[in-house]
């Protein structure tokens, strides 16, 4: 590098230092950053606990009703998710999901065409299926919700409520649900399939 070039680089570096310092100094004080961060984190945590707790309670109620009626009727029909009072029948050999098998919170493991699952986000991008036919969740930045139903052979339909669109690496739960027409679960893993049989997404049970 010639002397002139070296001087140019040094001049540029000095200019950068001055520019960054000036820009940083121009930033007005942000109010109560600690308070906002702790409130935001607490809210996100509370949502996770509430949805997990509600889901666990719903599973317990359905399981209790299912077990109490199991002995009295061997051919009880399979419940739809929207009808939680109908007793559920455990069917370990059938691959299709039941409302009972999907109830609870799930974290995404693999979403077709989405590579940024491990990116850090303000909220855990989990989705929770409730026994009353509703689902809630977070895409990492925004709360999501809607309704769903599951047929006897795992036929899946869903609707999504509106949502805010705060920017981050939003996990496209809503797109997964909209694209899915069949759902399969073994209690630990949940797999969504499109109408053409293509696997759309896989989720694992969230702790």
């Amino acid at each position: 590098m010639s002397k002139t070039e070296l001087e140019t680089v040094q001049e540029l570096e000095e200019g950068l230092r001055a520019t960054f310092e000036r820009a940083a100094a121009s930033v007005p004080p942000a109010a109560d950053l600690a308070g906002r961060a702790t409130t935001g984190a607490h809210n996100a945590q509370r949502r996770t606990w509430l949805t997990s707790g509600a889901a666990a309670a719903a599973v317990a109620v359905i399981a209790a009703v299912g077990f109490s009626l199991h002995g009295s009727s061997e051919s009880t029909p399979q419940p739809a998710a929207g009808n939680p009072t109908t007793p559920a029948v455990s069917n370990a050999t059938a691959p299709s999901a039941t409302a009972q098998a999907v109830t609870g919170s799930w974290r995404p493991v693999e979403l077709d065409g989405f590579k940024a699952l491990k990116t850090a986000r303000p909220e855990d991008p989990i989705i929770t299926f409730n026994a009353d036919g509703t689902w809630v969740g977070s895409d990492g930045c925004n709360s999501l919700s809607g309704t769903y139903s599951i047929g006897q052979r795992g036929e899946f339909t869903s609707k999504s409520n509106g949502q805010r669109l705060v920017g981050c690496e939003n996990v496209p739960h809503t797109a997964v649900l909209q694209a899915s027409q069949r759902i399969v679960s073994d209690q630990k893993e949940l797999t969504f399939f499109a109408g053409d049989g293509r696997e759309v997404a896989r989720y694992a049970r969230a702790r």
């Binding site: 520019t19 950053l33 600690a34 940024a116």
Partner: protein, 164 residues
């Protein structure tokens, strides 16, 4: 150090860092808040780190780089702004007159981040590499490319000014 103590002492530094890398005050505050929220959620782990600020700074930088990789990300939104909901940026007037600041906006997000960490945060290439999860040689190459691009942009601006 407790979280509130850290956030009070270093929070504004995070906003400033967010502003130098993004050039947008609102985004800078969002980045600082995201970084602090994540740090708060795993504060015990952050506390155990050799340098908690280094840890939180890494969250902020990675959040910004992730943000810029999104298809919907725009460096300088210019159309369809809802003026009723737009907060005036008090920093804009001060820095808009600086041609070097404007030239920085032409760099890629990673190039700009490397320059900010080097010339604003005064970090060495090894520390920058650790923050970004890349090799020190990649940091040097990125910085060199960014400086060359800035020199070229400034030269062309000077030629334009002479011709006008």
């Amino acid at each position: 150090m407790e979280f509130e103590e850290y956030a009070s002492a270093r929070g504004q530094e995070l906003v400033r860092l967010g502003f130098t890398i993004s050039g947008d005050y609102q985004r800078a505050e969002d980045l600082a808040q995201i970084a602090l929220m994540q740090a708060f959620r795993s504060w015990r782990k952050v506390q155990r780190a050799d340098d908690p600020h280094h840890y939180v700074r890494r969250i902020l930088i990675n959040s910004y780089l992730s943000m810029t990789r999104r298809r919907s990300f725009t460096e300088a939104p210019a159309a369809d702004l809802d003026t009723d909901r737009t907060v005036p940026d008090p920093a804009a007037d001060i820095v808009n007159s600086d041609d070097l600041w404007r030239a920085l906006a032409t760099l890629s997000a990673r190039e700009r981040v490397v320059l900010v960490l080097r010339y604003y945060q005064d970090l060495d290439d090894r520390t920058i590499a650790d923050l970004l999860g890349i090799k020190p040689s990649s940091v040097r190459a990125t910085a060199s490319r960014a400086l060359a691009a800035l020199r070229k942009t400034r030269q062309s601006h000077r030629v334009d000014e002479r011709l006008s």
